[in-house]
């Protein structure tokens, strides 16, 4: 077995990242580096109202007083912020009246990524917002959604068109003081998606944002704000890719979700940033703050993430269960291969009475990678009858990788019920042999077993995404047998 293993592992490590191409698009960038003038310049470039500039400057000044935290189970090289370009945009301006005006090279890029931009051609009924480098390129289905009163647009547009909503909610779930990268993002964020679902409206289609880093030496700092008003429902998808580059690129996004009374938000991510090469050179640093608040009673927020890319993934999509009878869910598959590192998990903050949370985390480590689950379940004093169920499983492929689990539980109310289950397993040689004996190759057997292992999470994804995620898993793990 070990010889086959080595062969297959070699094959995996020589496997190409499918989205690693660079598009030849004329890009407008500002000079490298970060100081107050750069923050002002970004705000100026985006024609922002005064309140946004103030928000940015406060965040920037606060960030300057902070240090990057050292507590994660990650080896992060020093990041030189003076060596990063904080704003890059495709030169042709982002306001397109019709698709015909979009740079053909840009359209070709999104065709290659399999992202449907052309509304006529969309059968799947997914409304898409596309963010390339620092700028939202195109939002589809805007008119259809507007008829229902749904706002779905780029963040820069929202700042100008709906300043009151932005002002009211931006930074309320993730304040700029929250953490080092949230502060940085608040200072320099360039674009992202904004979404508002009015009272009683069930969004009839999946909303989706595709993020793409194209330009070299740039960071991507997008900001997503999603508000679901009383008794509304929305399912939101997010996908990410980047070219193969030798240097590490920083991606520090902030996502804020707000669910009012009886509202439900389902937020799914398939993260496939460039993971670096087989020796660990290059790749994206994916340091993201994602948090939702179940503000109203009976509201629900569900995070589903499939993390296969990035050199380093460091994020904890979390729920603040403030209303009574609220529900928070976190379903995660995190795959690391070669020299990838991940420290990911969630935080469930139970504040409201009868609040429930459910955590299902499936880590898969291969190659020389390190994969950690870190999660906090906190039950506050007044959260009567809070319930949590957590399941954290780790699957090891090979003997040079690591899996770690750091669960934290803090309970200040005696009526709380908390369950935590954790397993660590390897794909057994006997399982592989059983499949082999039925005519299934080792490669396919691993795929079958891994897909079985993550099924509970993948089932949470909308259909089209589930298929994509399954393929992605197969590619990222191609043959890494343990």
């Amino acid at each position: 077995m070990s010889e086959i293993q080595d062969d297959i592992l070699n094959e995996v490590t020589s496997g190409e990242y499918k989205y690693g191409f660079v598009s030849d698009i004329d890009t407008e960038t500002i000079p490298k580096g970060l100081n107050e003038d750069v923050v002002r310049l970004i705000s100026l470039k985006k024609n922002e109202p005064e309140f946004m500039l103030e928000f940015r400057l406060k965040a920037f000044r606060f960030w300057q007083t902070m240090k990057m935290p050292k507590w994660p189970h990650l080896k992060i090289p020093e990041i030189n912020y003076q060596d990063i370009i904080f704003y890059a945009a495709p030169r042709q301006q982002a306001k397109y009246a019709s698709l015909d005006e979009v740079d053909p090279e840009l359209r070709a890029t999104f065709d290659k990524l399999g992202i449907p931009l052309d509304e006529q051609k969309i059968l799947s009924g997914v409304a898409v917002d596309v963010v390339m480098d620092s700028i939202s390129v195109k939002t589809t289905f805007k008119e259809t959604l507007a008829e229902l009163g749904i706002i779905f647009c780029s963040m820069s547009e929202a700042v100008k068109e709906y300043p009151d909503l932005v002002k009211k909610y931006l930074g309320t779930v993730v304040p700029y003081t929250d953490n080092y990268f949230a502060a940085l993002n608040s200072a320099v964020f360039s674009d992202g998606s904004f979404c508002y679902i009015p009272k009683g409206v069930r969004c009839p289609m999946e909303l989706s944002t595709y993020f793409r880093i194209n330009a070299a030496n740039t960071g991507q700092f997008e900001r997503t704000l999603l508000i679901a008003d009383d008794e509304s429902y929305v399912s939101y998808l997010e996908g990410c890719t980047a070219p193969m580059r030798d240097e590490n690129q920083l991606h520090a996004a902030v996502v804020e979700l707000i669910a009012m009374e009886r509202a439900e938000i389902k937020y799914s991510t398939v993260q496939n940033w460039y993971p670096g090469d087989k020796n660990g050179k290059g790749g994206i640093f994916n340091f993201v703050t994602k948090r939702g608040i179940c503000k109203g009673n009976y509201s629900k927020i569900s995070w589903t993430q499939v993390e296969t890319g990035s050199a380093i993934t460091w994020k904890y999509p979390s729920c603040i269960l403030r209303g009574d009878h609220t529900t928070g869910e976190f379903y995660s598959v995190a795959v690391t291969n070669n020299y990838q590192q991940a420290d990911t998990g969630t935080k469930m903050m139970h504040i409201g009475k009868n609040s429930k949370s459910r955590i299902v985390s499936k880590g898969i480590s291969a190659g020389r990678s390190n994969n950690s689950y870190r999660g906090l379940v906190k039950v506050m004093k007044n959260a009567e009858n809070a319930r949590n169920f957590s399941q954290c499983d780790s699957l090891l492929l090979g003997s040079k990788c690591g899996a770690h689990t750091f669960p934290y539980i803090e309970v200040d109310n005696q009526t709380a019920k908390i369950e935590h289950e954790a397993t660590t397993s390897k794909i057994g040689e006997d399982q592989i042999f059983y499949c082999n004996q039925r005519g299934i190759s080792t490669e396919d057997a691993v795929g079958l077993i891994v897909n079985g292992y993550v099924r509970e999470v993948i089932n949470q994804l909308p259909m089209e995404f589930a298929v994509e995620a399954q393929k992605l898993l197969q590619i990222s793990l191609e043959g890494s047998v343990g």
Partner: protein, 259 residues
């Protein structure tokens, strides 16, 4: 179909099979019996291609080919089926998707198009009836939470779907009650044709009341020490293995005796 010549294998340097000779022709049923630890399961595993065993000497010819040269999955696709003594659990993988993958791999190997979902379900239904298994079983994860009897029936069910040329059933009867035993045996009998062959590994004569073997071999201490017909199985049932052990131990010492 199968010709084993002087097969010797070891695991971690310990020799288990010490020169096996066996020939199986199409249409035949062979029973291999023998006391615990005599090498029966090792023989089955080696034929299926389990690589924890090292073949140190001898040859295995299957349909004119060197079997030992083939990977386990190719052996399977060429018609070798192993009914596991302890079927393996694969959590999260449904029986239906596992079997559909397996069946389509077999078909691909024969240059046939994969079965559509509906055709596959139809075939699955037929075979389920044949081995009298609970129809919910295929919605469950592979062998997970199956009772001992269900696991064994599930092996025969898979055999029915894959239609092997050479089926090797490793103690498929162990742990079965008499009804389950009859069902398993009926399944094997129904699948029997003039073109395929079966090797049944068992401890007890009981199974052979249902599956009538053409030959009975006694494996002891890594060798086939006695070959006979159905009557040999009866004799073993009556007298146990001690007399065979003694006979063969004495033979090893150069004395030709019959006890």
């Amino acid at each position: 179909m199968l010709k084993i010549t002087n097969l010797r294998t070891s695991i971690n340097g310990k020799e288990i099979l010490k020169g096996i000779d066996l020939e199986v022709k199409a249409g035949e049923v062979h029973a291999i019996m023998g006391p615990n630890g005599s090498g029966k399961s090792t023989l089955a595993s080696v034929l299926a291609g389990r690589d924890i065993y090292e073949v140190t000497e001898g040859t295995v010819e299957y349909e004119g080919e060197d079997l030992l040269d083939l990977t386990p999955e190719v052996r399977a696709r060429k018609g070798i089926f192993l009914g596991f003594q302890y079927p393996i659990e694969i959590p999260g993988v449904s029986m239906a998707s596992f079997l559909r993958t397996a069946v389509n791999e077999h078909r691909k190997f024969k240059a046939l198009a994969p079965l559509s979902a509906s055709d596959f379900l139809k075939i699955m239904r037929e075979k389920k009836e044949m081995v009298e298994i609970d129809s919910n079983l295929t919605n469950r994860s592979v062998n997970e939470g199956f009772s001992g009897g269900e696991k064994k029936k599930n092996e025969i069910f898979q055999m029915a779907l894959l239609e092997p040329k050479l089926a090797i059933l490793d103690e498929t009867d162990s742990g079965l009650d008499i009804d389950a035993l009859r069902i398993v045996a009926n399944g094997v009998n129904k699948l029997k044709t003039a073109e395929n062959a079966t090797i049944v590994i068992t401890h007890y004569q009981r199974l052979l009341d249902y599956i009538v073997p053409d030959f009975v071999h006694v494996l002891y201490n890594g060798r086939i020490v006695k070959t006979g017909t159905k009557e040999l199985a009866f004799e073993l049932e009556e007298r146990g293995y001690d007399w065979i052990k003694k006979e063969s131990d004495l033979k090893l010492n150069g004395e030709d005796v019959k006890i």
